[in-house]
Symmetry: C2
Subunit: 185 residues, 2 copies
């Protein structure tokens, strides 16, 4: 069971503008039309878990962007619009219970997306893998990836890749006491 974060942030740690827009990412130069490893990552996951705000944004796109099942964490949403009922399912309640339920349903590798959802998973120490792509810009404000509301969590660095345009993608896995040496605990 692996819960993974795969996300791009500015150098100052923002994942979106204050209004939730990802427009700044679309302007980042990509001369070789790289997907930065996105499809390879998506091939390895079984389902996506996202919050209602992220769902609102992606469901406004002209085409639905995911081939994998999407679980939307929401207490307020009651229904999924008819054209998405096969792709999207609403979930709510305790995160540990949700993850256990998804695991039992065969969804072992989850892509955890959206600022608040990632923060909720970190608060419960439920993130196993962080794949963070740094874009060389200081946005100076917006929606941050991390909040100061989770415990101290140690990770192991797995790999770092630099792409044309200056995107730096680093892959981290949760520190496992039996695999490597702790430096703080």
């Amino acid at each position: 069971m692996t819960n993974s974060v795969y996300i791009a942030t500015s150098l100052d740690g923002y994942i979106a503008s204050s209004n939730g827009s990802l427009e700044w990412l679309n302007h980042f130069p990509n001369p070789t039309d790289s997907d930065y490893g996105y499809h390879e990552f998506m091939d390895g996951i079984d389902a996506i878990v996202m919050g209602r705000k992220t769902f609102d944004i992606v469901s406004s796109f002209s085409t639905w962007p995911y081939s994998k099942k999407v679980f939307v964490l929401s207490h307020s949403l009651k229904d999924i619009r008819p054209d998405l009922v096969d792709q999207v399912e609403l979930v709510s309640g305790d995160l540990n219970a949700i993850v256990k339920k998804l695991q039992q349903a065969g969804y072992h590798n989850l892509y955890i997306d959206g600022g608040q959802t990632i923060q909720s998973f970190l608060k419960k120490n439920l993130i196993d893998e962080l794949i963070i792509s740094k874009i060389p810009i200081l946005l100076g404000g917006g929606i941050p990836l991390f909040s100061a509301e989770h415990p101290m969590l140690q990770f192991d660095h797995c790999s770092t890749e630099v792409f044309e345009g200056g995107l730096v993608k680093s892959h981290y896995k949760k520190f496992e006491p039996f695999c490597s040496s702790p430096f703080l605990f």
Copy 2:
């Protein structure tokens, strides 16, 4: 004239614990006793500019850690203690004027250090170079490197180096419109 930031942060962007302590950095494993390029960087700078809080911390060390002149930004400090008067000078006032004055005195390459001082320089778009080393830990709180009080600033990625233990050091230079293509402006 280059104003450089050379600093280590946690994955969530903190440079120190809430009380200003850098103790968490001392526990990071360094089996080959690497200096992560610190001395090479220090060889290239002419002076250090830091805030009063950073000065309070470094001046409490048992030995003074710098061979280069240190300028301390402070409105409140009136005197430098006798054993440091040759190494340390107090400066205050407008940052542009301070930088110009230092340049005229022959200090062309400045190491800008300390969270608040770095943020003050960013607010005035006075940072030319960012060298940021990411430590694979989420601290979950502390003193952040970046604040949301500066304008949007674009940088060019120069290089990224991964060190044993998982420290990822990335070097960025301020975007220069005549050297590379903008992606947002």
